[in-house]
């Protein structure tokens, strides 16, 4: 029961990241649109607003990755996978998460911490006139996103374990990608 509850807590975390990403996307759309209009109609350009575009863009897709993992949106080569039974699919996800996903995300996340800390300690800012300060914030998105991917990965792991233990209906093990 604990494992089931843990899985649903993690799922809620991933969903939250999805909501944040969606809002970041809408902000980015308006940001880019605003910049085009300002430049063309009012002949005004702001480097800070231009930089904000890619800050929003980067945070949006980085935080979107763990959410997409939770909803099963990451593409698989399913030549074989689609013919497997639910239990077999669960085994593949179990092994893949332990052997591929978790080591990768944790290692990149770990090096990301040093990367962001460096920017924090130097007080790094944009090098361009009117650019954004506090570069460490966007750099910290890297470790945060990768650790979140690891957490979402644990969610996938629990899902496969809970499936193998018979807590989830095997028939539709993997949610459709769309």
């Amino acid at each position: 029961m604990f494992l089931l509850r843990l899985e649903s807590v993690i799922n809620r975390f991933s969903d939250l990241l999805g909501k944040v990403s969606a809002i970041l996307f809408v902000l980015m759309l308006f940001n880019v649109f605003y910049d085009v209009i300002m430049r063309y109609l009012f002949n005004d350009v702001s480097i800070g607003m231009q930089e904000l575009e890619w800050h929003l863009f980067a945070a949006m897709f980085m935080l979107g990755v763990p959410y997409t993992l939770k909803v099963g949106g990451h593409v698989r080569v399913d030549l074989i996978y689609e013919r497997l039974s639910g239990n077999q699919k669960a085994w593949i996800d179990l092994a893949g998460t332990l052997g591929l996903l978790l080591p990768f995300c944790l290692l990149v996340g770990w090096y990301g911490v040093g990367f962001a800390r460096e920017a924090f300690e130097l007080g790094e800012t944009s090098g361009d006139p009117g650019g954004l300060p506090y570069r460490w914030i966007i750099k910290a998105v890297i470790p945060f996103a990768f650790f979140s991917m690891a957490i979402s990965g644990v969610g996938l792991l629990l899902r496969s374990i809970n499936t193998l233990r018979g807590h989830h209906p095997v028939a539709h093990y993997q949610p459709p990608s769309h």
Binding site: E118, L122, P129, G130
Partner: protein, 343 residues
């Protein structure tokens, strides 16, 4: 016997250094400098110093050289000091400054006017050594779609001009704009931006800007862009003294070689551009604009000097040296060229 053999063995030991450059592979001139340096160092050391170079295409971090050399992921880097001004503001002064020194003047400052010592003071805090890495010579003021006849024409001018020079123009009402390098050509052609600066004929030719913009303005903002060799302090300390000296000489020679190569390539490429597109108009900014830009530049420098004592020291050192050297430039090269054009 062993006592005699040992030093010989030590002398034969091969030291391998990994260097990262900001430039993509096969980037002419900028990329030739580190390769030239590595080849010289290997030859001079009789093969004991081997330097491999990874370009941007391999490490994917053109503006991460500072961090990667600092952390020891690479032993060396080839880049430009002013790229780090967002991380360490005082690195700004060791590339070139608007209305600053010309290349011979600036080399004089580096090697005889206290420049190297000041650069060391800035970089040693980060366990880095920095050396001049090759000069582009005077950079052109850029390609313009419209003529600049007065200060009024700078108002709202959308120009790709990064860094400190961009700040100067922004003070006068221009709008520095960020456009990715891959979109520059399209943006200038379709007038998404009014102007851009790149380097000079040596590297502008391959970008093709001369086909789409009528005015080529002469320079003011980068009179002597000096690239940079960065060395990790620990990697440097591991080298025996003779190899340190070989490396130092190789870097200094490669820097000088690049200055010559840039000059040559600019002359060649400018001839080609002018032949293919005889309508390109070379322009200089009117006196009113130049003096306003100069004033804005001085104000910005005064602000920086007021904020940081080391910055103040560097700016004062540069200003003092330039005043002294410029008097000589005026009665030598400048007087010579003036006397010829007066005929």
């Amino acid at each position: 016997l062993a006592a005699i053999a040992l030093p010989a063995q030590a002398a034969d030991k091969v030291y391998r250094l990994k260097m990262a450059e900001t430039w993509p592979s096969n980037f002419p001139i900028f990329g030739d400098a580190p390769r030239n340096m590595a080849a010289m160092a290997e030859k001079m050391s009789n093969g004991r110093l081997k330097i491999t170079i990874d370009s941007k295409n391999k490490h994917k971090a053109p503006l991460g050289i500072f961090d990667m050399v600092r952390s020891g992921q690479y032993d060396m880097g080839h880049s430009a000091s002013y790229y780090w001004k967002g991380k360490v503001p005082n690195t700004l002064y060791f590339t070139t400054m608007p209305f600053g020194m010309t290349a011979p003047e600036q080399y004089g400052w580096f090697y005889n006017g206290g420049g190297m010592e000041l650069m060391e003071q800035v970089y040693s805090q980060y366990n880095l050594l920095s050396f001049p890495g090759g000069n582009t010579g005077n950079q052109m003021g850029g390609w313009f779609q419209k003529e600049i006849n007065s200060l009024e024409d700078l108002q709202g001018l959308k120009m790709r001009i990064p860094g400190f020079a961009g700040e100067v123009l922004a003070k006068l009402g221009a709008k520095p704009t960020n456009i990715p390098a891959g979109e520059l050509y399209t943006a200038l052609e379709r007038r998404t931006i009014d102007a851009l600066e790149w380097v000079g004929p040596s590297l502008d030719l391959r970008m093709g800007f001369h086909k789409i913009a009528p005015y080529y303005y002469t320079g003011w903002h980068e009179p002597a862009t000096e690239l940079q060799f960065l060395v990790n302090q620990r990697s440097w300390n591991k080298l025996p003294e003779d190899l340190q000296e070989i490396l130092r000489v190789a870097m200094r020679t490669a820097a000088y070689d690049m200055y010559i190569q840039s000059y040559h390539a600019s002359a060649e490429n400018w001839q080609r551009m002018k032949q293919e597109f005889p309508d390109i108009q070379v322009k200089s900014f009117p006196a009113e604009v130049i003096s306003a830009m100069r004033k804005a530049n001085d104000e910005l420098l005064a602000e920086k000097a007021a904020q940081d004592p080391l910055a103040k020291q560097i700016i004062e050192s540069q200003t003092a040296y330039m005043q002294k050297a410029r008097v000589w430039t005026d009665i030598s090269d400048k007087a010579y060229l003036n006397s010829l054009s007066a005929q």
